[in-house]
Subunit: 225 residues, 2 copies
DNA sequence: ATATCGTTCAAACGAATAATTGAACGATCT
DNA sequence: AGATCGTTCAATTATTCGTTTGAACGATAT
């Protein structure tokens, strides 16, 4: 009987955050911002929406406290306000995966034979990096690598992978990672590497999850900040 | 370049779950269902909405895979589809607390002097229960206790607390819990008990969080199921 | 200053969502 | 069968949300 009014206010605030997440474009914007700071124009382009539209969605996210922004010359750079946002997205994903059969289908259909590729967990990777028994490969585009990457990772964007196979060890196991659980780059990379006779596996997570877990990330050189 | 279409579908599914959460009434309905199975009429009453309205909200939640329902005679009983829903709500709460200043104010204002009451963590409680050094007190209404409660807990609804102080130990520490982090019952109970000279603290979480963590819960007698 | 470029604002329209009402449905009891 | 009670459905209205358009703003660069 006690908590009528303030409780309402509380739920209203929680709902405000949920509302901010409740649009596919905004979720995609967040995923891109999870890779690092981005200008409005850039995320608009990555998400295939108009600049004006992206701008409004980003402002909505900012009002909800999910992202923050700063000005850098002509550009306004947006970023996640908090790594906990990645955790929230992971929880959302977990529910969607568990309860919605369709997602399962999409995942297992498009991200083919997911299990066959035996993903490596974060904890495993940490161990293997310590004893030096793996080579860590970041297959994202060069600019995203520049915005932050895992320690000891080498960067060969997926598109250049075939040309640059010589840079990779033939015997040692290779662990590839990219943006996150639903980014296809590392799937494709592992498949390609295996076909060429390399020993390759995927990291289960991407950079944002790694960072959200509090593990060290090589930050960008503080150039234009 | 690779993941245009299926990615969209994925984000659309995630957004569907977020949309289901994006209404304060639905969040409140979920909180009540987190206590255990409830009829439409009952959650409508608890949430102060009309039955028809609650029914529609509940169906929306069901479509999103967040809750499930079954028929029991005249009644339709709803429950959470998955304990992971509690985890998702916790993530939502954590973001809202961190990023929205207003929630902080509400919390520290209404749930007064939260820190002074030194909440007990789940892990702590498990340890203390093992060595038998605490009495565990459930201050929720009797019917909610009946729908599920922590092992070894005794039930004294908050409204009866003053009348039934004799049932509580004077020396041993008492740990009180209720519905969850934003339920006031345990705050009030601890304050009241301390004023009477009892040694009392709050459990940090409520029943739903306990259950979601995979810890054992005394289930209701399978009477009308 | 003027031009240019990235971002935001304001207005407008169509689409989706929420709450209310009263009727319909389903199960139980007499 | 008929009555009753809890739940759902269908239709309505008010409100909110999403996208587009074109203008306005702010920070360079010439």
């Amino acid at each position: 009987m006690s908590s009528a009014n303030p409780k309402q206010a509380l739920f209203a605030q929680f709902a405000a955050v949920a509302k901010a997440l409740a649009h596919e474009h905004r979720l995609e914007l967040i995923e891109h911002l999870a890779q690092g700071e981005r200008s409005v124009e850039r995320v608009a382009e990555l998400s295939h929406v108009s600049v004006a539209n992206a701008s409004q969605h980003l402002q909505r996210l900012r009002r909800a406290g999910l992202v923050a922004s700063r000005r850098d010359g002509k550009h306004v750079l947006y970023r996640l306000a908090d790594d906990a946002v990645v955790t929230l997205l992971a929880a959302l994903r977990s529910i969607a995966e568990r309860s919605l059969g369709e997602v399962e289908k999409v995942v297992s259909g498009y991200f083919r034979r997911r299990d066959e590729l035996e993903p490596v967990s974060r904890a495993d990777l940490v161990r293997r990096l310590k004893d030096g028994s793996v080579t860590l490969l970041d297959v994202r585009p060069e600019d995203e690598f520049g915005l932050g990457h895992l320690p000891d990772a080498i960067n060969i964007p997926f598109r250049e992978l075939e040309k640059r196979l010589a840079e990779l060890p033939k015997r040692r196991e290779i662990v590839a990672y990219c943006r996150g659980p639903y980014c296809v780059l590392s799937f494709e990379a592992v498949a390609a590497l295996r076909q060429r006779g390399f020993k390759a596996r995927r990291l289960e997570d991407g950079l944002p999850e790694w960072r959200a877990a509090g593990l060290p990330v090589i930050a960008p050189a503080p150039g234009r900040g």
